[in-house]
Amino acid sequence: MSRAKRGRTSGMSRRALVGSMLSTGLLAGCGRIDESAPGAAMLDLTDRLTRRAERLLLSGRPLVRELSSAQISATFPTNGTVLPKGDGYQRLLEGEFRDWRLRVDGLVAQPLALSLAELRAMPARTQITMHNCDEGWSAVGQWTGVQLSRVLDRCAPRLNARYVVFHCMDVQEADGAPYYESIDLLDAVHPQTILAYGLNGAALTVGHGAPLRLRVELQIGYKNAKYVDRIELVERLSAIGRGRGGWWEDFDRAPWYAGQ
């Protein structure tokens, strides 16, 4: 998703109107159909139905397809935030992230604060996968990082932990809220769910989320949070952000489970 480009769609006006007429006739005047009670109920029902079907499909715990090095895209587009604002990030960047720590807390028996060097010292996984943005485009990249399951093993999650929340260092201009995302433990322990610090054999660039981003290959673009600096284990998502489990989910009613 392009956070900058798409932005808010309020204040829209129409002048020359071929296509808009179609949607105007159908939906304008109905107000926000997705915020009306029946509209929201239909959307929630659809997301639940789709998610159930996806869970059924994934019951054999398959790996997503991994591609060959010949298939890596010549360029990998950057999208959304390409440079987090603020002195804090700038200082970390100038110090080559030596002072950066990944905090792991919430419902854990052993809170962690891991440096980039510590993460790199853990067993690494490299995978060539396709990134699919909900806008429609795809790019193939080779990601290197540590499996999230290994970090979870070290922090010893409590029995009531159900979701893993990724807090990010970039604040969204549209509403001033920091980016965040969340996945459930089932996707968190998937072998291809990694905390990536490398892309195509080099250190992750700022545009791609340096120093650390999530790669959750079972799901699409916006779930793969960039600039992660805190992982929180929680029992429910309602208390985080506006409660829908992610920034795009809160702001744009994107589906929380995004394997479609």
């Binding site: 798409r6 309020s10 071929v18 949607s23 159908l26 659809t46 909900d134 485009w137 795009w248 394997g259």
Partner: protein, 255 residues
């Protein structure tokens, strides 16, 4: 005349049995919603590619491009396979936070959220796939497939569809709709994790996306022809026949 609805009389007066009418109206809602939300999704990235990957900066088999973005309004070209057409007069404009954005078809309405448009698209997909599967079972189970759509295999009632219509319906039902469903499923990470062989069917994920939009455009053309024929052949009698099932007095065959 309560006994008049004997089987023979029913055949004479009831042109559309209730499963046909139900499927028709599920399709009417589902296809409208899927085409509209499909336009919203297309507008966010109006470029189609062939192969596995594809993104801005890579060659596109079809694209909608602002060639003179500084002009007011900008000049737009539709590029298909290297040929270009100026489509500026066809463009609608939406003003997003002061920065104009332009779309060719189906701009999402005021205050709308893109994130939800994919869920609306899936709602339409569930309706259409559910209807297609159920109706497929009915077609085969009831013998309607053989009677009505199978060229040369019809009974007395097949006379109302000519061979071209029979082949068109058969191709739509058995070729175009499965193509739409399978190419759409290939765009899902969950589906392709379980069934990576789907990529091979199209020659890559972006090929599947291109096929999906192409098949949708074909369906839209089919719907346009259908609506045109409904208007030409008599809107009110045909609407009545598709609501009540009663045969129109004259004309209106096989739209």
């Amino acid at each position: 005349m309560p006994r008049a609805a004997a089987p023979d009389a029913m055949i004479a007066t009831l042109r559309h049995p209730w499963p046909v009418r139900l499927w028709h109206w599920v399709n009417a809602v589902g296809i409208t919603l899927s085409l509209l939300t499909g336009c919203w999704i297309f507008n966010v990235h109006p470029r189609l590619y062939w192969g596995e990957d594809g993104h801005a900066g890579m060659p596109a088999v079809l694209s909608l491009e602002a060639v003179d973005a500084a002009a007011k309004p900008p000049r737009f070209e539709l590029q298909v396979g290297g040929s270009r057409w100026d489509v500026t007069p066809l463009m609608g404009v939406i003003d997003v936070e002061g920065s104009d954005q332009y779309t060719l078809v189906g701009a999402y309405p005021k205050d709308y959220q893109f994130g939800a448009s994919r869920t609306w698209h899936f709602l339409a997909a569930w309706m259409l796939v559910g209807g297609w599967l159920t109706y497929g079972l009915y077609l085969i189970g009831s013998g309607r497939l053989r009677r009505m759509w199978w060229p040369g295999g019809g009974g007395a009632r097949a006379a109302s569809y000519n061979v071209v219509q029979q082949l068109a319906y058969l191709a739509l039902f058995a070729l175009l709709i499965p193509t739409l469903i399978l190419s759409g499923l290939t765009l899902s990470n969950s589906v392709t994790a379980a069934h990576p062989e789907l990529f091979a069917l199209w020659g890559g994920r972006q090929s599947a996306r291109t096929v999906h939009f192409g098949a949708a455009a074909t369906l839209a053309f089919f719907v346009a022809v259908h609506l045109y024929r409904v208007l030409v052949c008599g809107f009110f009698p045909l609407m009545r026949s598709m609501v009540t099932g009663r045969r129109p007095a004259a004309g209106g065959e096989g739209t």
